[in-house]
Subunit: 379 residues, 2 copies
């Protein structure tokens, strides 16, 4: 068994003790009649956090990438067009999976660290011919820390009769995501970020208008098949990971108990405090303030600091996990997540203190600003 | 939280306390350097239980059906031929998934409750033209309780230059499965049956000769992609369900501590004792003795007994789960699993006693034989 970690990377987040206890409950069968109300409560709580009335709302038995693949397979028939709003690693993954499942993929791009401009999507859709189009966009791009303007992108998509599918892996439960108010066609997430359940389940919701169009080239990730199990009368589909369902339900109960608006505000407040602390330390944030995610922060690695060495010292000397950059941002940035149970005042201050200590020990010259005081004033 | 259950259905099985404790360990990141040795130990222990030297041996982040789909996607390119040895519900699932992923599916059939005759496979393969062929067979068909003659089917497949893929969901860790000695091309299983880990991971192993043929139409279930994470140097693929990896490793350590031959013998002995008890009670087993699985037993529902009512009483009055039949065997049989941690003398006797009591209370006339004594003599 590994030592305890303070998980402040882009996920998984720390798991509350109530959720761990729920996961360790005695095993029951996936067809046990007493499990069915647990599924129903989980689906109901997922609808609350997705802010949707969509019937087909469930947790896929796999991690966030399984949710991505299941939703793409549900939305995009082979040969149909998939327009990906691409400005990071996980948008690239949408492109990769789109290609593998036979979609005709079109990219609308922005630089990594900047949001997609809805006018660019508008132009791209205007240039395309007829035929069904699905637009895919990432709400919080985990690789860059950008919060993309989903409401605007959805409006543009619908104005062109395109469907819109949203990756909410790093936002659901931590940033406002009104699925129905934004009129999204489909949305997926992961259990292990702002919801603070263990990794292994992927919440998904799809609008009625997307349903029954065709039979996807998958059985395990077929959302209609999964719904035959999650929805009454609960026919057999596959053996769900019962322990993770228990954990997910408990995590969602904690979200409901806190209240979604209060939870979103907590993420916003803690993350702003982190920004203030990092900037007081003289570090530069990658993303301009209006486009920063309230869940994942990206900070440029200062001159003189060794990426891997700093992260290793944080892990070994302070048990703190943060992450490095992906793709073109490798070696350029660190990624700090304050999500779910990891999003607490004590961890903001612990991280700022530890990072300052490690950078100083590594000989990086920092200004005399007091990071902890700057952050604490905003917590 | 539901009450405790004695899980004697076709899975999930009871989970040993050591495995539950391992699952509840503090969360760590999927890229934590200290997690990589855990992955490597898990893969090494999986090779032991699969009795293989195959490098690409790992646990897919999904349940048994995910293992089935991942392995089919790895083995069978769209348009290639898939010959399914079909005599039950899970063989039908292979056919279903094969169809969805674009395979040209051919069936070789036997009645549900009887094994596939290798001579029938021989004839079917002899009739087929050229082109790559994969034969798929189910080792223990969970829906019928039949142990299929995999060694013979593999010999026939190879004699016709076909590859062979084996479903070991209900046998791995409970019945002998010498992957290399039988020269299998690929094999998959589930975590929640004879291995007694919680559901949510699917052990898979594939032979080197199956690798690198083509890029499958999946990202999440792409075994080569998964191997980039499970194998050194452990690049990022997706966020594995860390808690379930811990649980799986602990479950496999328990298998290694018991010793695979001793474990297989335990399953054989307990299940034979169950047969003796059921027959002493005057009940009839579905499968002729030479073809019976040592892990799952199927027994005909006696005249006068109401399938659902008897199972409900077992669950409500004795906290015992067994399962009904699937497909054409619905209402005809009960399925009793003695797998992993559920395969213990006390549960054999508890089940026999409870079943006798419920059947008697339901007015079913049973002969005067002493089921418990008949079983206990063989435990």
């Amino acid at each position: 068994m590994l030592g305890e970690r303070i998980l402040l990377g882009p996920g998984p987040s720390l798991v509350p003790p109530e959720v761990t206890a729920a996961m360790a409950a005695p095993m029951v069968g996936h067809m046990d009649p007493d499990l069915f109300p647990v599924l129903e409560e989980t689906a109901r709580l997922l609808r609350q956090v997705f802010q949707t009335a969509n019937e087909l709302t469930l947790a896929v038995s796999g991690t966030g990438t399984a949710g991505m693949e299941a939703t793409l397979l549900h939305m995009v028939k082979p040969g149909e067009r998939l327009v990906v709003c691409s400005a990071g690693f996980f948008a690239d993954r949408l492109i990769e999976i789109g290609g593998r499942i036979g979609a005709e993929v079109v990219r609308v791009e922005a630089a990594w660290g900047r949001p997609i401009d809805p006018a660019d999507l508008e132009r791209a859709l205007g240039r395309l011919g007829g035929g069904r189009t699905t637009v895919a966009a990432v709400h919080v791009e985990t690789s860059t820390g950008v919060l993309h303007p989903i409401a605007d992108l959805a409006r543009v998509a619908h104005a062109h009769d395109a469907a819109i599918l949203v990756d909410a892996v790093a936002s659901l439960g931590g940033a406002d995501l009104p699925t129905d108010a934004w009129d999204l066609d489909a949305c997926y997430s992961g259990s292990q970020k702002c919801l603070s359940a263990p990794p292994g389940m992927a919440p998904v919701t799809v609008h009625t208008r997307t349903r029954g169009r065709f039979r996807p080239a998958t059985f395990y990730l077929d959302l209609e098949g999964l719904w035959t199990y999650w929805g009454a009368p609960h026919g057999y589909h596959h053996t769900v990971p019962v322990s993770l369902v228990y954990a997910m339900r408990e995590a969602l109960r904690l979200v409901a108990a806190e209240g979604l608006p209060a939870r979103v505000e907590r993420h916003r407040r803690m993350t702003r405090a982190l920004w203030a602390g990092l900037e007081a330390m003289g570090l530069e944030l990658l993303v301009p303030e209006p486009h920063r995610s309230p869940t994942i922060t990206t900070v440029r690695i200062p001159a003189g600091a060794d990426d891997a060495k700093v992260r290793t010292r944080l892990l070994r000397e302070y048990s703190i996990e943060i992450a490095g950059g992906l793709g073109p941002l490798r070696g350029q940035i660190w990624r700090i997540g304050l999500m779910g149970y990891s999003c607490q005042p004590k961890w903001v201050l612990a991280l700022l203190g530890a990072l300052e200590a490690v950078l100083t020990a590594e000989g990086v010259r920092l200004p005399k600003g007091d990071a902890a005081r700057a952050a604490a004033a905003r917590l």
